[in-house]
């Protein structure tokens, strides 16, 4: 069975005068896909969603809905938008209408349904989101979670082919998040195509069949939840999933500011509440391996990258030291005492090659 492509995104770029959230986005969304879009803030997740239904038209590139270009200047934009519902972070219910009127309005105005048809359908939808008794309330009389459920019902009333969720639970009280996610989960089970920008990782893992990890203005990694959450292929995805905190120092001179780097390591430890022992061990690695061993080894023009990665998720610290020049054999060339100290401070020492082809030590800190 071939999957039916619903949305094709090709070379989409969105640039503002001082920031470019989308550099080059390419993907295809198939019917029945439930895609969670994750990634650090400011990486264009919402912008991508808003480009798809032209709330923010892309600067360049094309987006096709069922092979019809929504980015074409002469397209029937409002007709194409009817195929894609959108649920907003801030709900955006029409404040001057009751709950049921909010739901009835668009089908009556745009699909030519009779009031009775729209009402019956509206009440049915309200029952599925559990809010039939609020039909005659105004939006300002509802809680955030209730508002978002009404917003979903309003979107469903237009019978869209897919729904775009723009951080649907970010503006909610934590106790109300569950009720909204439950409604989305049910929609997923019914086979609704959905694109969900979310920060709820567990929810994303459970409900989606695909995950977009967005970073660097593109879909950095696209895969199944297992791939993204268990075995991320790319470095930034891994950092994001492991919630990695980074510290990086580049040393290019023999006369570098030694005290400043030692101080930075202390500060890094304080900032992420690392144990004094770990901080001491990091200092040992820096001193024994970088300062005492690799720098003299590199001679007059050193080129050394010292990086600490602390994973908040697994509470583990890794130090990566990349250096130019020939590989250095620790066991053979290193001073005995220094090597003993290094061994003492780490649980494992591995060597590798970086993406640039430089030699690298990877040390897991005790």
């Amino acid at each position: 069975m071939t999957k039916q492509a619903l949305i094709k995104i090709s070379h989409v770029c969105k640039a503002y005068p001082n920031v470019t959230p989308l550099k080059d986005v390419n993907t295809t969304i198939y019917k029945g896909d439930v895609i969670s879009v994750i990634g650090p803030s400011g990486t264009g997740k919402s912008t991508l969603l808003r480009c798809i239904n032209m709330m923010d038209p892309p600067t360049s590139g094309d987006i096709y809905i069922n092979d019809e270009a929504i980015t074409a200047p002469n397209c029937q934009l409002h007709l194409l938008r009817r195929k894609m519902g959108m649920v907003f972070q801030s709900f955006n219910l029409f404040n001057h209408k009751t709950v049921i009127e909010n739901i009835m309005m668009a089908p009556m105005d745009l699909l030519g349904k009779s009031a009775q048809e729209a009402y019956d359908k509206g009440m049915e939808l309200l029952r599925t989101v559990g809010l039939a008794d609020k039909a005659l309330n105004f939006p300002d009389e509802l809680s955030g979670g209730q508002k978002q459920r009404v917003a979903i019902a309003r979107t469903l009333a237009m019978e869209p082919e897919m729904i775009l969720f723009d951080e649907p639970t970010s503006a909610l009280d934590p106790t109300k998040v569950g009720e909204v996610l439950e409604v989305i989960r049910e929609l997923a089970q019914k086979g609704m195509t959905m694109l969900i920008v979310t920060h709820e990782m567990n929810f994303a893992k459970d409900v989606s069949n695909r995950i977009f990890y967005m970073d660097q203005g593109e879909i950095y990694e696209d895969g199944t939840p297992e791939q993204i959450f268990e075995h991320p292929q790319r470095e930034l995805t891994r950092h994001f999933i492991m919630r990695t905190k980074l510290m990086e120092e580049i040393i290019t001179s023999k006369d570098f500011d030694f005290i400043a780097i030692r101080n930075n390591i202390d500060q890094f430890g304080k900032k992420y509440l690392l144990s004094p022992k770990s901080v001491h061990n990091m200092q040992v690695v820096f001193e024994e391996l970088c300062v005492q061993t690799l720098l003299p080894y590199q001679g007059e023009a050193p080129n050394l990258q010292f990086r600490i990665e602390y994973s908040d998720k697994t509470n583990s610290i890794q130090i990566r030291i990349a250096y130019s020049g020939k590989a250095f054999e620790l066991e053979e060339d290193m001073d005995m005492i220094s090597y003993a100290l290094l061994k003492n401070a780490t649980t494992s020492i591995k060597t590798a090659l970086t993406e640039n082809g430089e030699n690298e030590f990877i040390l897991d800190i005790k």
């Binding site: 239904n53 409002h78 009817r82 519902g85 029409f94 001057h96 009751t98 105005d109 009775q116």
Partner: protein, 504 residues
């Protein structure tokens, strides 16, 4: 609402009782003109009486200015000033009607009135020829006897029954100076108007009368609205710099009107005095008809400007929000310019400069000026209202598939209306009250009518209170209507139900 009116009346009554206390001042006695040195003077706005007085009485620069004779007399009676300086026919008539004041026995200086023309007008020589003839055959003396006399029945104007082959004279005149130029039961009356009609007859020209504030007379000549003006206008060197005068048709004098110390107030009861005031204000000369006419003019201007302004304001608001950059800049400048111009100044500019050379009725200019003025305020108000609607509302409607136009009318406008209507209501009521200045361009509205009446009755309080009362009633009626509309569009008003649907 009754409660509101009642408390307002109590407030006014308290104010009136307190007024004399504030005005109390030590009495001085005046025997000769020189005794007035250092006294407090008053005169009418736009006259030269202050300059002439200062040239005769030393230390007499403490002047205040009023718009009407009646106001001046009120100030004199309530001891706000010591002397009211004006031409003697006016002062004598005032003294005859108000036993509390009298003309001081020594005149300040002789004075003479003339008709004024635009610089170099050929009409002036024609007037002079006829004036010379009237002076020789006694017509002029005869007219003076009639208009300064007490026999009201003789004070009738000439009917314009001559063919008028030589064209039409546009004649602007003051209307608050009985017996020279004033308004009677059937329209303008007075010595100068009668004289102007007779001169026009001699010249076989028709004459078109227009009432105008004294302060606007010279402007109406300079803007080309009028061919000739008068209003007991003194012939002075300073005025001669901007206009030409015909030979004087009236030798007058500048006199002082002072309080009559020997006057003892009669024991007339309050009810009787109100009755008398009511009689004078409404019944005599069918003055209530004037009030009704004035009221209709006020309502006409308010209604037209209100409706026109709502549409104009909407147009301006949309251009300001959706127009291209030059259009937006233009509209913003236009709005800023008009908002910072006092409406009375704008009205005069519109009448004397913009429409200076166009033959358009002052009423239309007033309607137009108030439409624009209200439109400018309404534009800002709409804009404020539209700004209060969150952008998310627009996005939600667009995302559902509404077109931008449908989005505006179905979602944004109804929500904005709840915000701008209360402000618009205030703007509108303020505008209705502001129409009271149309008298400046000779439109006879409610306020001008009240001026006309109190210039005749020499009584300020009663006509003013009546006018205030009428404005109060109009404003309250409007407020009530607008309140009802406001409640009607409140979505939370009334029973919660879904229209046209069998509810589950």
């Amino acid at each position: 609402m009754q409660k509101k009116i009642f408390s307002l009346l109590i407030f006014l009554a308290t104010l009136l009782t307190l007024l004399p206390c504030f005005a109390a001042n030590e009495e001085k006695s005046f025997k000769t003109l020189n005794d007035f040195s250092g006294a407090r003077f008053s005169t009418l706005n736009g006259t030269v009486a202050d300059k002439l007085t200062q040239s005769v009485i030393p230390n007499s620069d403490n002047f205040v200015y009023y718009y009407t004779v009646a106001d001046g007399i009120m100030a004199l009676k309530s001891n706000k000033v010591d002397a009211f300086v004006l031409d003697d026919p006016i002062c004598r008539l005032a003294a005859a009607r108000n036993p509390e004041v009298m003309v001081f026995h020594e005149p300040v200086m002789p004075d003479q009135y003339g008709f004024a023309f635009p610089k170099g007008s050929p009409l002036r020589n024609k007037f002079n020829t006829v004036l010379r003839k009237f002076s020789e055959d006694g017509t002029l003396q005869n007219l003076r006897d009639i208009w300064l006399g007490a026999d009201e029945s003789k004070k009738v104007l000439l009917k314009q029954d001559w063919p008028g082959k030589n064209g039409t004279i546009r004649y602007y005149h003051d209307y608050l100076v009985e017996p020279i130029v004033y308004v009677g039961a059937d329209g303008p009356l007075g010595l100068e108007i009668d004289l102007a009609l007779r001169i026009a007859k001699e010249l076989d020209m028709k004459i078109e009368l227009t009432k105008c504030e004294f302060g606007g007379l010279i402007a109406s000549l300079q803007s080309g609205k009028a061919d000739v003006v008068s209003g007991s206008m003194s012939i002075t060197e300073e005025r001669k710099k901007s206009v030409d005068f015909a030979d004087s048709h009236y030798k007058a004098a500048l006199v002082l009107l002072v309080r009559n110390d020997s006057y003892v107030a009669s024991n007339e009861s309050f009810i009787d005095s109100v009755k008398a005031s009511f009689e004078k204000t409404f019944i005599v000369e069918n003055r209530w008809k004037l009030i009704v006419d004035g009221l209709l003019v006020t309502i006409l201007i308010s209604a037209c400007a209100g409706i026109g302004g709502l549409f104009l304001g909407f147009l301006l608001c949309m251009l300001k929000r959706e127009g291209s950059k030059p259009v937006r800049n233009f509209i913003n400048t236009f709005i800023r310019l008009l908002k910072s111009t006092p409406i009375v100044v704008f009205l005069m500019i519109a009448y004397y400069i913009i429409f200076g050379s166009v033959n358009i009725s002052a009423l239309w200019v007033a309607i137009l000026a108030f439409t624009i003025n209200f439109g400018v305020y309404a534009a800002e108000t709409y804009s404020t209202g539209l700004d209060t609607v969150d952008n998310g509302q627009r996005e939600a409607a667009l995302a559902l598939g509404y077109t931008p136009k449908q989005t505006f009318w179905k979602v944004i406008f109804p929500q904005a209306a709840r915000h701008f209507l209360p402000i618009l209501k205030g703007d509108f009521i303020a505008m209705v009250k502001e129409t009271s200045i149309v008298g400046y361009i000779s439109v006879q509205d409610l306020t001008m009518v009240s001026d006309i009446i109190h210039s005749r009755t020499m009584e300020a309080f009663f006509p003013l209170l009546v006018t205030a009362m009428i404005y109060l009633i109009i404003a309250n009626m409007l407020t009530t209507v607008l309140d009802i509309i406001e409640i009607k569009i409140d979505p939370k008003h009334g029973k919660r139900t879904v229209k046209g649907v069998k509810m589950q």
